[in-house]
Symmetry: C2
Subunit: 224 residues, 2 copies
DNA sequence: TCTATTATTTTGAATAGTCAAAGTTTGAAT
DNA sequence: ATTCAAACTTTGACTATTCAAAATAATAGA
């Protein structure tokens, strides 16, 4: 009855899509299918099974949302994923932009015992290298989240701190790294012109960088 | 075409059985089935597939042996397994007797990149915590093995050093640990009487321990 | 040599997860 | 309202891995 790797991936995807869509309404099949990289037909089939198992609530033609049990499982997977990412970067020194893929596999292979050791070894981190919060071990209180907003919401002239990168694609992360847009970095918004559909920022004393709004929307910041 | 987890487990098992039977003759289906924990019928079915893939040589009613390609793969799996075990014990401090099971899963989830980092982090170890040799990375020369013989081959009065434990069962390993029979430990054979089917040894200044010959046969030693 | 036991292979069926393609709904736009 | 495109569901099929049980071959002992 232990949830399979596949099950865990479905739940994780639903959780993350639910976050993005900000809770209101169920996650449509199409999005889920795309996120996991399977055909919509498969998504429908699988989702019905998970609904029977009490992990998802499924409304035909509408979509799915996690049940409490499903959410608990999804958070456990995310916790594994992020602790592993942190370990790979901080201890083994793997490429910041590429650990996601590694963790995607390892999150299904690491036992509770090993996870706890990793967590302790790292000093119980609360965020992974990309700034995503690490869900606490079950029974260790709620996930404490820091208030962040996308770079697109900043006004010209504001100084803020990069808190989190929402994309997992190495391409995007490598771009971010090259331009100093890593969590903890302070930056100043030179210009945010909705008409231009772009945001220009300056990190330290290097040349300014301009991000399209799609990219800027994936950079979450704190401060001011 | 990347070999599946299942394939890797079959090859690993064949390799280890081949070692035990000391090369001569193919590994019979029954043993393979038992080692992997599947029914003999399944073993036959699968083995024929692997033979088609050029990983095994299969002689009906006789058994299987690894092809060069199969052996290479088996050694790669063993390398992963043993580096992971070493890491779990030396870095994370997991229980010496229980890391085998963990590594059994992780060996299929760790990428080449991560493996190399682990190997470097550990200082390129040549043996795992149970004394089993770690196959070198492909192209790094042959596996250099240390000459060892079972405790059952020692004469009364000999002093030798524990080199390797052949069993992976936590029960056996915990027993070994409790009695100081871990790789590197020096011991003196108090008595080895084939008639008694047992070997009595003394580690340091603690009370002597007696092992049945089945257990003593799984303790490999060097020296004298 | 004959037979009884043991090892191995074959056969038929099951499960998890997947796709392609055909069939349905829904909802927006005319 | 009617229609069309997009989203969703159904159906039939396929792969990998497994088991149980029946069929077959090999072997050791009398």
């Amino acid at each position: 009855m232990a949830p399979s790797t596949t099950t865990q991936n479905y739940l994780k995807a639903v959780y993350q899509l639910q976050q993005r869509q900000d809770g209101r309404g169920p996650v449509p099949m199409g999005q889920l299918a795309q996120a996991i990289g399977i055909t919509p037909g498969t998504a429908t089939t699988m989702v019905k099974r998970f609904a029977d198992d009490g992990l998802l609530d499924y409304t035909p033609r509408k979509g799915v949302r996690l049940t409490p049990r499903g959410r608990k499982l999804a958070l456990a997977v995310l916790r594994r994923h992020r602790i592993i990412e942190t370990f790979l970067v901080q201890v083994l020194g793997l490429d910041w932009a590429e650990v996601h893929e590694e963790a995607e596999v390892l999150e299904h292979a690491v036992s509770e015992k090993v996870l706890d050791k990793l967590d302790a070894y790292l000093g119980h981190p609360t965020a992974d290298p990309h700034g995503s919060p690490i869900p606490p071990a079950p029974g260790s209180g709620p996930m404490r989240t820091i208030e962040m907003r996308p770079l697109t919401s900043c006004e010209s002239g504001q100084s803020v701190t990069v808190g989190r990168l929402l994309d997992t694609l190495p391409r995007f992360l490598q771009f971010a790294e090259r331009n100093g847009l890593t969590p903890g970095t302070r930056l100043t918004v030179i210009d945010n012109d909705p008409a231009a559909d772009a945001v220009t920022v300056k990190v330290g004393r290097s040349a300014p960088t301009t991000l399209g709004s799609a990219a800027a929307g994936k950079v979450l910041v704190t401060g001011e």
